[in-house]
């Protein structure tokens, strides 16, 4: 097994799936010769040629709509939005068509495409390069929304996304692209879409998170154990939609106390849905109000104030303490 960054692990998934299936295509802005602005698609063009690794004209709606067409005709396009902040140009194609063609054709057609995009803050970027708007996509019936949290699960989830018969939006936490390395097996590995995981076991309180924020939560959990002797269970959602409410409900019933953490704005975010499911399914098990530790309901500020915006380790710790003290 090789230790890889998330960039390398995603590249491995693309490389192997393209080798395996000549219907898998990669397209987007600067994904070919340049290998993507984060080098996620590096070397793919050399290996598979410009017919399968396409530097497209600069048009996100075009990229998404074109991918839908390719998918309808049996190919498996993996298209890239250079940054999630520009994926809204493609929103109409995704909402009106990718998400609906199966239904509109009564199952005669389906759209097995993946739309990849780096998302999230923490890399000192320009405007539109730091937001976390997964809720838009998760709110769209007919789309799946996946967010990995480590190199290994990014690779395994992307392979599953490519093989999935339906459109999958795959948001890559760009702050994690090169943040750390993890062993990634050379042999094929997949993870089921629609399943979350226990990232850390604990009995006192459950923290539900995903993406880059998961790592702040893990650090907070370690510190809380050291400083307060508290055992925090951490759930990593991995798929935002369809949401796996089994695993976190089970955990919440055991601990009775829950905190949800994400960098997206608080209102109408993924956390709101998690809490609604808890209230619906586990209300009587809860011993304290569920707290949200999230980004604020404002446009994420430029990078000097970005760290004051993002929910870091301290904010997570405070949220957990308040939940425990209730």
């Amino acid at each position: 097994m090789a230790k890889m960054t998330m960039v390398q692990a995603i590249n491995l998934a693309l490389m192997q799936e393209m080798e395996k299936d000549d219907g898998v295509m990669v397209l987007g802005e600067d994904v070919g010769k340049d290998g993507g602005v984060f080098r996620v698609t590096d070397n793919l063009m050399d290996k598979f040629g410009p017919e399968r690794v396409m530097d497209t004209p600069l048009a996100e709606s075009g990229i998404a709509g074109f991918s839908i067409g390719m998918a309808l005709h049996g190919l498996k396009p993996v298209c890239e939005m250079q940054f999630s902040g520009f994926s809204y140009f493609a929103m109409h194609q995704l909402e009106a068509h990718a998400a609906r063609l199966r239904g509109r054709s009564l199952g005669r057609f389906h759209v097995p495409m993946v739309l990849r995009a780096p998302y999230g803050g923490g890399v000192r970027a320009l405007e539109h390069h730091s937001e976390s708007r997964e809720a838009y996509f998760a709110h769209t019936p007919g789309l799946k929304m996946v967010i990995p949290s480590t190199p290994r699960n990014a690779r395994a989830l992307l392979v599953s996304a490519i093989r999935d018969p339906d459109p999958v939006i795959f948001f890559e936490p760009k702050a994690l692209y090169r943040a750390f390395r993890e062993e990634v097996p050379e042999d094929e590995e997949t993870l089921p879409i629609g399943k979350s995981r226990i990232a850390r076991e604990g009995k006192d309180v459950t923290v539900i998170s995903y993406g880059a924020t998961l790592h702040s939560v893990m650090e907070a959990a370690e510190k809380l154990e050291e400083e307060d002797g508290v055992q925090v269970e951490v759930i990593d959602l991995l798929t935002i939609s369809p949401l796996d409410d089994e695993l976190f409900s089970e955990s919440a019933r055991r601990t009775g106390r829950v905190v949800v953490a994400h960098e997206a704005p608080r209102s109408f975010g993924a956390g709101a849905e998690v809490i609604a499911r808890l209230v619906e399914k586990s209300f009587l098990y809860l011993e304290a109000p569920v707290r949200r530790v999230t980004g604020f309901d404002i446009v994420i500020p430029l990078y000097q104030r970005e760290m004051d915006y993002l929910p870091g380790v301290n904010r997570v710790m405070q949220g957990v303490r308040e939940t425990l003290d209730f």
């Binding site: 010769k33 600069l58 075009g62 104030r305």
Partner: protein, 364 residues
């Protein structure tokens, strides 16, 4: 019925006034005053020097990612035609045009150093802020121009965008709206040959970008975008047309991105050094300087004096910017300007951050 040609009202022309060696085509001379010529020269030098300074500051980690404008300074020719109350609707590679229109250098530095305060609009000018989503701002120019027309005013809206932007739907929608409603909008395409790693030839099969105008029944022209006089002349014609109610114009300025796409980019991956060097000969400042020397408006001493003057100006601006940073502007400012009135739940979030800040200051 036989097939026959359909005659279109416009043809695409190419305009160049000052060649690479600074030689003027006298028939086409826009006859600018000496004063304006000198101002244009100085502004181009200032932009070049400030761009270089920004690159240094970026490499030192003092500012973040930005898009250098090196090689595209002749864009100033287009905004030089505008009045302050005309609208400038830029993309993200119009620092030179912004400086001409009153943008403070310290604000540009603040913006790229990650302070929202850098967005300050210069007093008295209708300049929109930098727009990063490629092509999207062109529609705003069309809408602004419609409002101008509706109010029977004499202003125009001038929008800038790149060669890559001509692939976006928004751009085509803007062109179409502008032409359908015959509004005083001027579309300035900075064809710098590259959209990050994608060459102009790969962006569209069209021989020129200017010909895109034909599809919308709009006059379009291709100009030497490194020739500040040609850019000025074409813009002047377009602005006059707009002001007299004759509708929009599209100008393709053929120029070159001499530097990196942004400071996060490595052009070695996709283009050759030779290509870049080939464009050094066509530098907009060198040729303009030659022209001014030939006209006896410029000599070695004056070149040196101009450079020293603008360097001093930049130094002062950097100083003011450093003072701004030293005042460590309050992070709570992130809650400003969301809506005219902050909703109560967001006000509460502001209080959360305030409490956290206080706690942190208290040594926690």
């Amino acid at each position: 019925m036989p097939r026959k040609d359909i005659n279109l009202p416009y043809k695409i022309q190419y305009l160049s006034i000052l060649d690479e060696n600074g030689k003027l085509d006298k028939k086409l001379d826009p006859n600018l005053s000496e004063d304006l010529l000198m101002k244009l020269y100085r502004a181009m030098v200032l932009s070049r020097k400030f761009d270089e300074r920004m690159l240094t500051l970026q490499r030192q980690g003092k500012i973040g990612t930005f898009a250098p404008i090196k090689g595209q300074e002749a864009q100033i020719g287009a905004v030089a035609v505008l009045e302050p109350d005309d609208w400038l609707v830029p993309s993200f590679r119009e620092m030179a045009a912004e400086l001409w229109r009153g943008k403070k250098m310290e604000n540009i530095l603040s913006l790229y150093a990650g302070y929202n305060e850098g967005g300050e609009i210069p007093e008295g000018f209708n300049n929109l802020p930098v727009s990063i989503p490629v092509g999207s701002q062109t529609l705003h120019a069309a809408g602004i121009a419609y409002a101008i027309r509706y109010r029977k005013q004499k202003q125009v809206a001038m929008t800038f965008f790149g060669d890559g932007a001509t692939s976006e739907g928004d751009f085509h929608e803007a062109m179409n709206f502008a032409a359908v409603f015959q509004v005083p909008a001027i579309f300035i395409c900075q064809n710098n040959h590259w959209a990050i790693s994608v060459p102009r030839s790969h962006q569209t099969r069209s021989k020129t970008l200017a010909q895109k105008a034909l599809a919308y029944e709009m006059p379009g022209i291709q100009v030497d975008g490194n020739d500040v006089l040609a850019v000025y002349a074409a813009a002047k014609e377009a602005v006059d047309r707009g002001r007299s109610g004759e509708g929009p114009t599209f100008i393709e300025c053929v120029t070159y991105r001499m530097s990196v796409h942004t400071t996060a980019d490595d052009p070695k991956k996709y283009r050759s050094e030779e290509e870049v060097e080939g464009w050094v000969k066509k530098d907009p400042i060198t040729r303009f300087e030659k022209y001014l020397r030939d006209k006896n408006l410029m000599d070695d001493d004056q070149v040196k004096a101009t450079e020293e003057e603008v360097s001093g100006e930049i130094k002062e601006a950097v100083g003011r910017w450093e003072d701004f940073i030293k005042k460590t502007p309050d992070p709570l400012s992130m809650f400003e300007h969301l809506l005219e009135e902050l909703p109560p739940h967001v006000e509460q979030q502001r209080e959360e951050l305030k409490a956290e800040q206080a706690q942190r200051k208290g040594g926690k």
